[in-house]
Symmetry: C2
Subunit: 449 residues, 2 copies
């Protein structure tokens, strides 16, 4: 077998990169759980017809077939299956399927891989990890969750600052503001306006204006007003006044949206100052959002695109009898981690868990080394035993190559054991029943590079 | 959308079941890391030709295609992709691909989902989680790892006894013993003998004897000798003597295998007494094992099949210039967890992380409740805030339904806060800056049911 080469779009990390990713996931999980979100996992596959309900993502789906569908076998009752392309569609299905067993409002987090058959680019993969939080209600869901959820994400991403992750800005908008404003202008094809405003960063204001005229039924004045709205941003309530001034005559939808947006800005100024910014150009492509929408940029890495997006949805999950409105955000973990690693922002202090390598004097005495390792592990110290009774210099190099800070030398009897810090060269008597490394050396740490 | 129904073979857990599974995964991860194994993840897909190298699993593979392969797009350079059906094949590929960046012997653990298009049965799924450990050497790998790895698994599974997981027996054999014995009998189609001996539990001794005659070139006497070997088992070194007595004349391969098997039994008797049992009928279907092989039964649940299997392999990963021999075991996490849940063996003390529900007196005062929640979380206490300012009785029921033990009532000023243990009804003054629940109530625990 020739040496295999990586598959474009399917990122994999070396062990030290995986330590970074695992740390990111651990921090996210802990933050989510501190906020009372319970973890769930859904299967990787959904019936294709469910994945295609939204239409526009159809070309991204990977479809599965069994290599040998046997002639005599019963066909898959569920029909064709595809890999999920996000965690929202499977979560909506999970809620409907298990509604009778869940307590609402249901707070869940979900950290899993998703797949999209897109052309790979920087920060855009075919297989990647998402970390989602959502709150879903039965029948109704109060607005305050639209305030709470981005603040949970602000806290989660803020907790990563300690390892060298740049600060983030969570950009927020409200579909009711946009729709109320457009309708106030006399524009009725709101979806088309949103879809074209969403292209602002890619094609620029003039091209969007032309599209609004060509596709969304706008005249020049209406198109310019849409662009002026999209140009409004800020992190205090003056944003609300500027939208009002631009809108002229008000309407119920606009009023409701502005009240919501104002509440979010006020709460964020107290609980996550400087993190949440109202940005009226945020549209989000998918059409199921009905209230607040979110995107998140990594400051200094804006070209990477959003690393945490989401919004309020009212009709994603419905079984006819009941509707389950929700609000959620999704962190693009692979996009973030890939930038942390490729940008040299973050590093792990070593590439293995072990704090100690127990040396082996000769193979006949390996059981003495094993016993030391067992004693250290029983007290929560990660340890491995040398692979062979090579010269001690070689055993020390074995530790050094992996970043293992300590090498343990087993004496003739237990009182003659010694441990060497191979960074300083200091070697001291040590007893496996009591010796403990510094906290900073116990486990690999993830730190700014 | 009608209420969806589960897909056979694709298990999903309700939140309390997922808490159990997550706890199992956490215990495994911690044990593996204490033993110096570093976690890696590989992509879910491999080129189909790599997945099919072994032939016999071909019908189990799920093949991927993009729903809309666009006419103008470049084709996938790597050709057809399939979902991995185990973690060993991708790990072997990862080792070859990254050999220049890894330090050998390389100790890794890997916890991921795998997929097999098999007909679902009890404990046999189409999508399931495996937890693997392997040690791989460059060029050579000492035998002592074949002793170490099952003992790591014994410790990991032993650590789960505390939550109600039944004891396990790790059944071990050695391919060299089997092959040396068969060759000593004059049988040369060793693979065929192994493949048929592997069917003993399913079809019984007489049917296997007939197959050995029909397919493996054995006469009646040879077939009976193979069955007598397969009947030998025990957890002390008398097993070695019984094999020797049965074999009559010895040979180098048999001697080497018996020396290895003896060393494993001796070490296991000290380090995991009663857990490791030599069982000469263990064959393992896959043909790449070359030394020790392992299967693991859950005592009292033998019909479930092996929950942790593996072995020593010499030729799985080779790039022509270099060979990477290894030894590894894989826990079938979904099979184990599914039995723990369906058998009512294990339970979670609640279905959400939250230890405290902070009540809300009226929506205008929600920010006071949020502030209490923030203060508690800052000290590591998982908290959620009530969804609405309903009557307190309803808010208490909200906590009760989820198993949240404490409800916090926010006073007019901070000194008037109180917390109620809703199990005992006891309500006391409390300060969010200092109050702490009992350790047993801080996080949901996983306990024997």
């Amino acid at each position: 077998m020739a040496r295999p080469t990586p598959l474009s779009g399917f990122p994999e990390w070396l062990p030290d990169g995986r330590i970074v990713e695992q740390h990111v996931l651990d921090v996210l999980r802990r933050t989510f759980e501190l906020h009372g979100f319970v973890g769930i996992e859904t299967r990787a596959v959904e019936p294709l017809d469910q994945l295609l309900r939204k239409g526009e993502t159809s070309k991204e789906v990977y479809v599965l077939r069994r290599l040998q569908e046997e002639a005599g076998a019963e066909p898959d009752r569920a029909g064709t299956l595809g890999l999920h392309f996000d965690l929202t569609v499977p979560f909506a299905r999970y809620v409907l399927e298990n509604a009778g067993h869940l307590a609402f409002p249901f707070r869940r987090y979900q950290i899993q891989k998703v797949w999209r058959g897109e052309r790979p680019q920087d920060g855009r993969f075919r297989e990647f990890v998402q970390a989602d939080i959502d709150v879903v209600g039965a029948g109704a869901l109060p607005y305050h969750y639209e305030v709470e959820l981005p603040l949970v994400m602000a806290e989660a991403l803020g907790a990563l600052r300690a390892i060298g992750v740049p600060p983030v800005r969570i950009l927020v908008n409200n579909r009711k503001v946009a729709e109320g404003f457009y309708r106030g202008l006399g524009l009725t094809d709101v979806e088309s306006v949103l879809r074209n405003i969403d292209k602002l960063d890619k094609i620029g204001a003039d091209a969007v204006a032309a599209l609004l005229v060509a596709e969304a039924g706008a005249d020049e004045t209406q198109a310019r007003a849409c662009l002026e709205l999209a140009a409004i941003s800020g992190s205090d309530e003056s944003v609300i006044d500027r939208v009002r001034a631009l809108a002229g005559e008000s309407n119920d939808l606009l009023d409701e949206g502005l009240a919501e947006l104002g509440a979010l800005i006020r709460a964020a100024a107290v609980r996550a100052p400087g993190v949440v910014v109202a940005d009226l150009k945020i549209a989000r492509g998918l059409d199921y959002y009905t209230g607040t929408v979110y995107e998140t940029i990594l400051v200094g890495h804006e070209q990477l695109g959003s690393i945490c997006s989401g919004g309020r949805y009212d009709t994603l999950a419905s079984d006819g009898a009941n509707t389950y409105p929700g609000v959620g955000l999704s962190i693009g973990v692979s996009r973030l981690v890939s930038r942390l690693l490729s940008g040299g922002l973050v590093t792990a202090t070593r590439s293995v868990p072990s704090a100690v390598l127990v040396a082996v004097s000769n193979e006949e005495a390996r059981d003495r080394s094993d016993a030391v390792a067992t004693a250290l592990r029983a007290r929560g110290i990660p340890v491995e035993v040398a692979p062979s009774a090579a010269k001690f210099g070689k055993q020390i190099r074995h530790a050094d190559r992996r970043g293992i800070p300590f090498v343990w030398f087993v004496g003739e009897d237990q009182s003659a054991d010694q441990v060497k810090d191979i960074r300083s060269g200091e070697q001291v008597d040590a007893d496996a029943a009591t010796w403990t490394p510094d906290d900073a050396d116990l486990w690999p740490r993830v730190v700014p590079a």
